[in-house]
Symmetry: C2
Subunit: 396 residues, 2 copies
């Protein structure tokens, strides 16, 4: 978003501003990705006020203020600091800081020059950023993000209002206070919604994960097999250029490929030696039983998981089970998971065999390309061999 | 909502209307219950225009228009027709009906008198409702609910604008067209969000359900045991006055109470006769193992499920397992599920016993109140015995 400079709306007519505010509200509330949303909130607030810079703080669960977005056009800097894996910087909610004061009181602060805050005010401006960067903060408009229940979920801090025409430093107007406060409320709702959606997605993924673990529970020596298969499958699908939604679904769905093993008796599943042909026939039922256990769902992950459970033992040349499908009759999810599953099994020690090395396992995949496996999938696998090795080490 | 008559906003100043529009947008986008949301959308649209009546249509997945909300102040009628279990009435999207024409063209229709639509228009007004009810439809403002992607998800049809002062019939103004169109866009976003949330909640519940079924898969003769236990537990919690969120979580979590049985070998789990004391000791491990399998989750359903798996075999007098907890040391979820689980087991035939009748099962619960079971939970159980019988029949 660096270089996405602020275009003025500061001088347009009042009802035009409200129209724009509604439009922005629509855009915000239909955005469900948290990082994108946060960056957008601050950018839109700056657009309304022609502000050169700004910071967005979120109130954390344990009651602190988290630096979540920083933007500064003069310094050509724009960064979203949450949801990217790094551990975010937080500060205490104290009425002695500007953002802290707004969080505590719930009231807007509109300060013409932060270097001229009277000593009688309870709060003061922290100059450390200016000293480090050479930036000169002057005017500041700081508003709470209050949701409809009246809870403050964050603070928008806008820095250095500019005259739309001349670009000169100016103060924030009281009209702008109202607009930004309105925008901040819309942002709070959008944020609540994005978090709710995120929580539900995580809960869902976690339930699927438990389901996969449960299925694996009796199959003592598979370790982190299901996780690796999910990762390998998603990496392959990514390199094949399949859509992002499909990849996310596959990451979860592939972990359920062996769920049908729940229906296989201990005496077969946990047998240390080679299976008799009768036992092997029963073992093979896990594919169709897995398909059945997961069948009949309306949700995309479970539908895909059912397809994979059913088809991950089909062979490209038609010699697999349960249906003896051939070539592209096998769903692409099954083609991918066959490679991911067998590769991981080859690399792992099992009760009936020791582990092969990376080299040897790859050799076997190559030999079986066009026989057991889809040649296209094996090709992609070799193209991303480094990524595969990384996953193998990460989930060892 | 009947009697919730429309108060005028029709004559207030323009920027006041926009402020109100933003407020309404906030309220709509923070509402995640679909029925409540739909009723609210139509009511707010009528408030902005002082409309006596209205209909909200949704576009269904198979491309029809569904009568979703009807409101009519003069007839004192207000009804939300979706999400209440009844099968909703739909009609074809045809440019010959008023709502159909708006859906097809994506343009607003503002009609002064629907009885005076010129024959040259492609659409006409269907008088059947007026003939049946004695109502006289006159002015009509019909706008598409378009989401930010440009997709039409529904239609708002407002009927009979009134002068705010006199209450006399009038036509809808062009100012009102713009406001309602804006509101309809906000409503479309709110609707998309509510549906997304609903879909995620259902997917989540479904994944938990599959997890519970998987756990039960090897335990051949339990039939719909887990579903009944979930329902009984939720019914008891409801009658105990526990919070609604807790009850919803319990309904799912209770179904996972026996997930630890995944770790019990076939030879014990499926043994037809009585278990030896060694076997029984191993069988009892399913409680602590269940607690472990589900442990470490951040999501409330799985946390509760872990608590239940661990505590549903504790006895009120301290004679249970795994920890020999006593009285209120046992989590309330465990106290409830103990009653629900044992009652259902008593009423069911198992490989080691035949089914008891309702009467006999209740007798046993009563005897064990204060010994095996919490007396308070048993009391509540007897208070809702009729509801329990209904569940028993419904999930037989």
């Amino acid at each position: 978003m660096s270089g996405d400079f602020v275009v003025s709306l500061a001088e347009s007519d009042p009802s035009e501003k409200f129209r724009r505010l509604i439009e922005v509200g629509l855009a915000l509330t239909s955005e469900s990705d948290l990082s994108t949303l946060l960056g957008r909130i601050l950018l839109e607030a700056r657009r309304f006020t022609c502000a050169d810079a700004g910071t967005l703080y979120l109130v954390t669960k344990d009651g602190r203020l988290q630096f979540s977005v920083v933007q500064n056009d003069s310094l050509d800097h724009s960064e979203v600091l949450v949801g990217n894996g790094s551990s975010p910087v937080t500060m205490e909610i104290s009425p002695t800081s500007i953002a802290g004061c707004v969080t505590v009181t719930g009231s807007t602060l509109n300060i013409p020059d932060v270097y001229e805050i009277p000593g009688t005010c309870g709060f003061h401006f922290d100059r450390s950023f200016d000293l480090k960067s050479g930036y000169r903060s002057r005017s500041m408009l700081v508003v709470p993000m209050k949701n409809p229940k009246g809870k403050i979920v964050g603070v928008i801090q806008l820095i250095n209002a500019r005259c739309p025409g001349s670009g000169k430093d100016t103060a924030f107007s009281s009209d702008q206070e109202e607009l930004v406060l309105c925008l901040a409320s819309q942002a709070a709702v959008a944020l609540d919604n994005a978090r709710l959606t995120g929580d539900l997605r995580r809960s869902y993924a976690e339930a699927i994960h438990h389901l996969a673990k449960a299925a694996e529970y009796r199959d003592k020596d598979t370790g982190r097999h299901i996780e690796r298969v999910g990762r390998y499958a998603a990496a392959i699908a990514g390199a094949m250029g399949l859509p992002q939604d499909y990849i996310s679904d596959l990451l979860l769905a592939a972990t359920l490929h062996d769920i049908g093993k729940l229906s296989i008796p201990d005496c077969i599943l946990q047998k240390p030696g080679k299976l008799t042909s009768d036992e092997y026939r029963e073992m093979k039922c896990h594919a169709s039983l897995g398909g059945e256990i997961l069948a009949g769902s309306e949700n995309p992950v479970l539908r895909l998981a059912s397809e994979i459970a059913l088809s991950h033992h089909e062979h490209w040349d038609g010699s697999g089970y349960p249906h003896g499908l051939k070539g592209d009759e096998i769903p692409v999810s099954g083609q991918i998971c066959a490679v991911a599953d067998v590769f991981d099994a080859l690399c792992s020690a099992r009760c009936y065999k020791s582990a092969f090395g990376m080299q040897e396992s790859c050799e076997i995949l190559k030999q079986e390309s066009g026989r057991h496996f889809s040649p296209a999938v094996v090709d992609v696998f070799f193209r991303i061999k480094d990524r595969i090795s990384e996953i193998r080490e990460e989930f060892a």
